[in-house]
Amino acid sequence: MDLSQLNRQGEYKWIIPKTGGMIVPGLIFASQELIEEMDHMVYEQVSNVACLPGIQRFSMAMPDAHWGYGFPIGGVAAFDPQVGGVISVGGVGFDVNCGVRTLKTGLVWDDVKPRLKELVDILFALVPAGMGSRGEISLSGSQIEDVLTTGSQWVASHGYGTQEDLDYTEDRGMVPGADPSAVSQVALKRERRQVGTLGSGNHYLEIQRVEEIYNPEVAHKFGLAVEDVVVTIHCGSRALGHQVGTDYLKLLASASRKYGIPIRERELVCAPIESPEGKRYFSAVNCAINYAFANRQVITHLVRLGFEKVFPRADLHMLYDIGHNTCKVERHKIDGQVKEVYVHRKGATRAFGPSRENLPPAYQGFGQPVIVGGTMGTASYILVGAERGEQEAFASVCHGAGRRMSRKKAKKIWRGEHLIRELEAKGIYVRGHSQAGLAEEAPGAYKDVTAVIDTIHQSGLAHKVACLKPAGCIKG
């Protein structure tokens, strides 16, 4: 990115000054190194989002930001419905509530190491993944509606989870305001037997080892210690969510014309939050959010079954489950006044600080766990939300490493089978459903996740708690 177009504010903040139709300035959180490497399209897209009606304070991008659809991936923006604020398809994305869930296993690395391959092979067979995969659960029409309206709560009450699982899921695994009539028949048809499936692309199921603890007090509260083994699930709302995105991209394109909203990029189509179209889209998003929670909950059940086969005494408990493609109604202090705003996080993670109500019981007064997935060869991180993030970034942080190389380039450089051997030499056991898919996800195709996390930590948006190293990885 051309730094001459930015005003630096301290070590980690870069302001895009208000020009043209921008209602607010842009704000990118990044180290000098990350911003120099960042795609110029992030600058364009942050500026474009800043033009949308009702946007509050700043159009933001996180240090893992890269070129996306309308919003950059890593984009955050809050809109006030009282002043004509909008809801935009580009700010949520196609994989609604794509997110991560981390489970504590109660096992340490010495327990798991000798049986890692067996464990990964069993999970690979149990958790449906890859192109066109289907699960065992066939939902009837009314059951799909139940899942869309009550998310994880419905699947937990049908034997796929516990009350504790719900307590440690963002929004207790169920957002209100989900009316299934806002979801098209095509989307409902595409749901068929997809709850409890991982999907493909960058989605994964990973066995990880806690390598380092940075904040012993919070780590203790989260129940994490060095050498502990955890499992992380990364997936979203499957075809149902993709279809919601597809359907509303077209519907909101008409709405943007109808309400005369100037759109700088076609993917930014939107509607006023208070309009019938905006309300309907938000309702559909909530349905897909609930579906994604239910999906990760059913996969959790399958993971427990897999562990039971290898480690009968293992007892898997939730650390947390959090989405990173969402639009949420939240209360934030803006210019000294508490406002209810619609926070879009496209490839960004909510990071509530210690003073938030509604945190899971054990985390109250500490802040919410933030799970940041790295790559299958590097590391993932657990952070905790902080007051600074609440004040400066609508309680948001990054979501991953962020790509630095296209899939096309990655496929030219790496081959799936070589990558598996390379990772195995590093002690990481990888099973994938597609060799080509694996090559696209090569660790070298991503930014340095540690640099991204350090920016978040140093800027105070959230604090580092633990570093997780991959030991076994299943890719779709």
């Binding site: 196609f94 192109m131 289907r134 493909s200 279809q243 597809t246 696209e440």
Partner: protein, 142 residues
């Protein structure tokens, strides 16, 4: 891949993939782009065009119709659990498209599954003439 009347290729997008269809007519360009998209998901050369599925869509302009066409094909393949390999656009106006896809039930053993395409998007969307060729392209979300 080239045929007598058209070809398809890919272009880079940092997160996902761009698909391009080219042809002597826009109908051919749309068909080629569809083949490019399905070749991201399966090895299209391994898919037998045994079964026909008709597709109709509406839009406000040809660019919107292009994205609609691709997204209709994705949902049809998903709902029917099929893989598609051959495509034909029979009629194309500024507001309506009629076409068809040919394929067979998806078989992970034979079709070399790759990466699911979540959606065709408006990103880098371009539907127009380039010299004497018709070109249709957009980014697909993987």
């Amino acid at each position: 891949m080239d045929t007598p009347n058209g070809s398809y290729s890919y272009f880079e997008h940092q997160a996902d993939m761009g698909i391009i269809g080219r042809g002597s007519t826009m109908e051919e360009a749309f068909s080629q782009a569809a083949r490019a998209m399905f070749n991201l998901m399966v090895e299209v050369g391994q898919v037998q065009p045994r079964q026909k599925v008709s597709v109709q869509c509406q839009g406000n302009d040809q660019a919107e119709l292009f994205v609609e066409w691709l997204n209709h094909l994705l949902s049809e393949a998903d709902i029917r659990q099929m893989a598609f390999a051959d495509f034909r656009v029979d009629s194309l106006s500024d507001s309506h498209l009629a076409g068809a896809a040919w394929g067979e039930p998806f078989d992970p053993q034979r079709h070399y599954p790759k990466t699911e395409v979540k959606a065709a998007t408006y990103a880098m969307l371009f539907v127009d003439q380039e010299g004497d060729q018709c070109v249709a392209r957009c980014v697909v979300d993987l």
